[in-house]
């Protein structure tokens, strides 16, 4: 039986091999793509065999560092499955895009992306707090190197900001985890389920702080814009598509189950920040001068919205938040790859120079429209389905909360419509006129189209998703919900 450890080991080993052995550009590309596809295949197997009501599945639980009571405990439940599925998909697309864009020193670049994937799967499947920490902290290393070595002009500043912010957070989280582990009755024990309900307000705060930065939740979003703007497109897609989900996922699957009492007590803070961040991010996205700025701020808005969903502490909120994370991964992944395509083919991501690209480029226009319309949650789309659940959950908590966040939908429509028309419609931009980019074709299309198609598929039958996730997501918030009296 393939367990989730395999999905971690395969990309990890491949990444080491790619770094050590002298592969040619071509061989490195195809090998990485093959490995990422293999992981995706493994995930498909999981989806096929998955029992929605079966709790943790496909796991391993073996002693790792016995002196500290640290165990290699990994497993898959509905929420984990959703997260590793998008990790696999986004990784495939990112590597594919890197091949299309002919990244220099590509073997190293792909190795680091695969390493990120391995760490991310560790985060999503860890059932031991130290294992979780290893994944959470570890993924930063390849991502920072990717940003430093393949980033744009302002990458140095971007890196400093990322390090400063995330270091602040993870330091506190490390202390929190150490506290939890060493205060365990009967010697150090870092088991996730063993630590439930043992924390106090300070430990909760330290944990929450780290996750809020990672997600990011307003007002801890300072690092996002520079990082998303300077990273190469495929890295930006991984960062905003899946790396940010480590924060959102951990809120739902680690923080809330671990601290039911505190989660219920302080839920209002996260609800307030989430609702405010949702509107704030949308408002800022509206006047960004370029595509990446729009996606960055819309990501802030979306992730704040996800955290709002988690802290509603009801089934709608939890399932909706999981679904929203998947949708956002697909949307922002596709949008960043499209942004990258525009930067290479049309020479700029700035709205000043773009425009009129729909003309005689039907494939680009169709793909961009599907993604754009999903991003603005047009009723009937999968993003609409997930937003609907979170909004309904908000309304069930407080009607006025529902009213406030539902108004954010209008802002979302405004910034995405601006993006669509600034890129595709209106008069032809000067760069478009001089460079005359071709239509979206083969290589780049193959990387972006799957994301659009998955969005369409999820729009047709979102219940296929929610049915698999609902039980796990509801279990995660149930203890806190009881505390909150919901």
């Amino acid at each position: 039986m393939i367990t989730v450890s395999w999905l971690i080991a395969v990309p990890a080993i491949a990444s080491v091999l790619l770094l050590l052995l002298p592969f040619s550009q071509r061989a490195a590309g195809y090998l990485s793509l093959l490995v990422s596809l293999a992981v995706a295949g493994g995930v498909i197997g999981f989806i096929y065999r998955f029992e929605p009501l079966g709790g943790d599945q496909f796991g391993d639980n073996v002693a790792w560092i016995t002196q500290l009571g640290i165990r290699w405990h990994v497993a898959v439940n509905g929420v984990t499955l959703a997260m590793i599925a998008i990790t696999a998909v986004i990784t495939c697309c990112a590597i594919g895009y890197g091949m299309w864009a002919r990244r220099e020193r590509s073997h190293a670049s792909f190795a680091l992306i695969l390493m990120t994937e391995a760490f991310l799967i560790i985060v999503f499947s860890a059932r031991d707090l130290v294992v979780f920490y290893v994944g959470f902290e570890g993924m930063l290393i390849p991502l920072l190197v990717l940003l430093a070595a393949w980033g744009g002009k302002g990458r140095k500043t971007a890196m400093i900001q990322v390090i400063a912010y995330t270091a602040m957070g993870t330091l506190l989280m490390l202390l929190a985890i150490a506290w939890l582990g060493f205060t365990a009755p009967g010697g150090p024990n870092f088991d996730l389920y063993g630590a439930i309900g043992r924390g106090n307000d300070w430990v909760f705060a330290a944990f929450a702080f780290a996750l809020a930065i990672k997600s990011p939740l307003f007002p801890f979003h300072g690092w996002v814009l520079p990082a998303y703007r300077e990273a190469s497109p495929e890295v930006a897609a991984v960062l905003s598509g899946v790396a940010s989900k480590a924060g959102g996922y951990a809120f739902l699957a680690v923080l809330v189950p671990l601290f039911p009492e505190q989660s219920a007590k302080y839920a209002w803070i996260f609800i307030a920040l989430g609702a405010f961040g949702f509107l704030y991010g949308a408002l800022l996205a509206f006047r960004q001068p370029d595509g990446r700025g729009v996606i960055a701020y819309s990501s802030i808005a979306q992730m704040s919205f996800v955290i709002l969903g988690v802290f509603l502490l009801n089934s709608r909120g939890a399932t909706g938040a999981t679904f929203q994370m998947v949708n956002h991964a697909l949307v922002s992944g596709a949008l960043f790859l499209l942004a990258g395509w525009l930067e290479t083919q049309a020479g700029s991501g700035s709205f000043k120079h773009l425009g009129g690209l729909a003309r005689s480029r039907p494939v680009l226009a169709t793909v961009a429209l599907i993604v754009g319309m999903a991003a603005l949650a047009v009723p009937g789309s999968s993003v609409f389905a997930s937003e609907f659940l979170i909004l309904l959950g908000s309304f069930e908590v407080h009607w006025w909360l529902g009213v406030i966040v539902t108004l954010g939908i209008v802002l979302g429509a405004m910034y995405m419509l601006r993006w669509i028309s600034a890129v595709l419609h209106e008069r032809e931009g000067d760069f478009v006129g001089t460079l005359n980019p071709p239509d979206l074709r083969r290589g780049a299309l193959l990387c972006i189209l799957p994301l659009a198609l998955i969005l369409v598929g999820l729009s047709i039958a979102p219940a296929q998703f929610t049915d698999r996730v609902d039980a796990a997501a509801t279990t995660m918030i149930s203890a806190a919900a009881k505390e909150a009296g919901r």
């Binding site: 400063a164 909706g320 039907p362 009937g380 659940l389 309904l392 419509l417 419609h425 209106e426 219940a463």
Partner: protein
């Protein structure tokens, strides 16, 4: 029968898929005919399904079928459920029937456009979305259809996407409708919280449990969605701008089908609205104010399509009055006849514009009745129907709404009656102002120059454009005969079962009295239009600068609604966004925390000079300390 309904729903989707995948390989004309035949097949299925439905006894005519669960979380679940009853059947026939004619018309209209295949695909997409809207058996799926028609409308208004005005109009329509979607969504949330269900069956069965306040708030929220989609006060300003889209779109989406969705929603949810009598009164008031306001604005417009657009707003306002008075059948009857005569008017206008090489200003037309006799004849039928002149179709349906007001005999009823008659006067004026200025008077220099050339090239228009107009003309002339007071009752008896709590029906005497008054007033309106606009001794400029010039200017600015929204919503959002971007986010959230951190590290005595170094080193230090701590612990434990 349900299979046929499913086929009706799926056919246009197949059309979209085929055109999207094969589109570029098909010749444009073949793509056009393919899309049209798909629509014809859908119409045939809908017609047969309706015929089968009609053979059933009245109490068995409501068919609900659950296909699969679309979305679920906890005890909340929404199915892809299909609802087919008398009201749906009417909508289905209008959508596929008029839809088919307009598809055929589009073949001719778009024949020189290299993008015509994309146009056909969008048209099929629109029809599919509209069918989802009317076939849904729960509010969430209705909202999905609601959003998808909004999307198709956006795509089609902005079809010529290198025209900045068209793109602006498309975005405006989308955003105003997003506001409506928000209202509708909140209404659904409220109903789910109060009743625990979003399906029609559930809501209708449980609606009695709601207090009047609960029911009123829910209905009010649904109404927000309805006014946005149907371009009624106060969310109406997008519709005139939507005329930037191709004319067949104006006929299909912005006259015959999509904009009537609000009326459909209220009629469909009537078992809920009946518990909110104040909201029903509000609907009547919105209707009356709206029909008079848009009638007045229509009189001063100079763009032929905008005149018809304001007329559409005015006519939908009549439908609102009808459903608000609980005369649902009358509202839907007017929806039905309006689909014919308004689509006809738009398609006729499209032919006129076509003949004039794209000119839309009626001041540059005139005297066209001699060169375009067939179009003139059809447009006259549409105009009489619109003006509500007996025995044209619009007369019967409009009078049905008004006599319902007479029958109700409350303050609201009288407001509806008198307001509606005033509206009839305005309708007569603006409709025949259009007719006289386009077809009568002396030809403008522009028309004189362009028309002979154009006639020589393609006559009055290609046959694909003329035939749909003829067929619609038949409908516009005779559709009213389905419900002649005291003689035929097709509409009332067919729609009776959709309102379990009953609906208002006027007596035969009230009906004929209203017809007499209505037709007289309509004729007076035509007379006024003749006096003001048909004679050569007056000119639009003279009237514009005459005694009422201030009012004239205010109406030209559409009573400042657009300015109101620009200054109360659009600009503030832009300012807020710019302000936050420029002055808040960068300083407060991006750099301030770093500066603070830099100072903190400096405080601990690490490289004061450069913040950056401080942070990197601190990071390294933390990592190192963490690892060292772990190793230390291991050693201690191990020993």
């Amino acid at each position: 029968m349900t299979e046929l309904v499913w086929i009706t729903l799926v056919l246009p989707l197949i059309g979209v898929a085929v055109l999207a995948i094969l589109g570029m390989k098909l010749p444009p004309r073949a793509a056009g005919w393919f899309a049209s035949l798909i629509m014809l097949a859908a119409f045939a299925c809908a017609a047969i399904a309706t015929a089968i439905l009609a053979t059933r006894p009245a109490e068995e005519r409501q068919v609900v079928q659950v296909a699969w669960t679309w979305l679920s979380a906890g005890n909340f679940s929404v199915g892809l459920d299909l609802w087919f009853d008398e009201l749906t059947a009417v909508m289905l026939l209008v959508i596929t029937g008029v839809g088919f004619l307009i598809h055929v018309y589009s073949i001719g209209y778009m024949k020189d456009d290299p993008q015509s295949r994309r146009f056909m695909a969008y048209l099929n997409l629109f029809v599919f979305s509209m069918l989802v809207l009317v076939l849904s058996a729960n509010l969430v799926l209705l909202l999905a259809g609601w959003g998808l028609v909004g999307l198709s409308s956006y795509l089609l208004i902005g079809f010529w996407h290198n025209k900045p005005k068209a793109i602006k109009a498309a975005k405006k329509a989308f955003i105003m409708n997003a506001i409506g979607d928000v209202g509708l969504a909140l209404g659904i949330f409220l109903l789910f919280v109060d009743l625990g269900t979003v399906s029609y069956t559930g809501i209708f069965a449980e609606a009695g449990r709601l207090s009047e306040t609960q029911a009123s708030v829910a209905c009010l929220l649904l109404l927000v969605g309805a006014v946005a989609k149907s371009a009624q006060l106060p969310l109406h300003t997008w519709l005139p701008d939507a005329m930037e889209g191709p004319t067949p779109i104006s006929a299909l989406i912005h006259a015959a089908t999509m904009v009537t969705a609000g009326v459909y929603l209220i009629a469909r949810m009537n078992p809920l609205f009946i518990h909110a009598p104040k909201v029903l009164d509000l609907i009547v008031i919105i209707g009356v104010v709206g029909l008079i306001m848009s009638g007045l604005i229509a009189i001063v417009q100079t763009d032929i399509k905008r005149i018809i657009a304001f007329s559409t707003m005015s006519q939908i306002a009549y439908m609102f009055v009808g459903v608000g008075l609980t005369a649902y059948w009358a509202g839907i009857f007017h929806l039905f006849t309006h689909a014919f005569f308004k689509a006809l008017l738009f398609l006729g206008a499209g032919l006129v514009i076509h003949a004039l090489n794209g000119e839309q200003d009626i001041r540059n037309m005139g005297g066209l009745r001699k060169q375009l006799p067939k179009i003139y004849f059809c447009m006259m039928i549409a105009a009489f129907a619109l003006a509500g002149i007996f025995p044209f179709s619009g007369g019967f349906s409009k009078d049905a709404i008004l006599s319902a007001g007479l029958n109700v005999d409350t303050t609201i009823g009288w407001i509806a009656y008198i307001g509606g008659l005033l509206g009839a006067l305005l309708t007569g004026i603006y409709t025949f102002r259009l007719i006289f200025m386009v077809f009568h008077r002396r030809a403008s220099p522009y028309a004189e120059r362009v028309i002979p050339e154009s006639i020589k090239h393609h006559g009055e228009g290609p046959s694909t454009m003329l035939w749909p107009v003829y067929i619609l003309a038949i409908g516009a002339a005779f559709a009213g005969l389905l419900q002649i007071p005291g003689l035929t009752h097709v509409v009332t008896s067919w729609l009776e079962p959709i309102a379990p709590d009953g609906m208002v029906e006027a007596t035969v005497g009230q009906d004929w009295l209203t017809t007499l008054i209505g037709t007289t007033i309509g004729l007076i309106g035509i007379g006024i239009a003749y006096h003001l606009y048909a004679r050569e001794s007056t000119s639009p400029e003279l009237i514009r600068n005459g005694r009422g010039r201030l009012i004239h200017r205010a109406l030209e600015r559409r009573l400042y609604w657009d300015d109101l929204y620009e200054w109360s919503f659009e600009k503030p959002v832009q300012w807020a966004s710019s302000f936050l971007n420029r002055d808040v986010d960068r300083t407060a959230f991006r750099w301030a925390p770093l500066d603070g951190l830099g100072q903190l590290t400096a405080f601990f005595g690490r490289s004061f000079a450069i913040i950056e170094n401080g942070i990197v080193r601190m990071y390294a230090l933390v990592l190192a300390l963490g690892i060292a701590g772990m190793i230390l612990f291991l050693l201690v434990r191990g020993a």
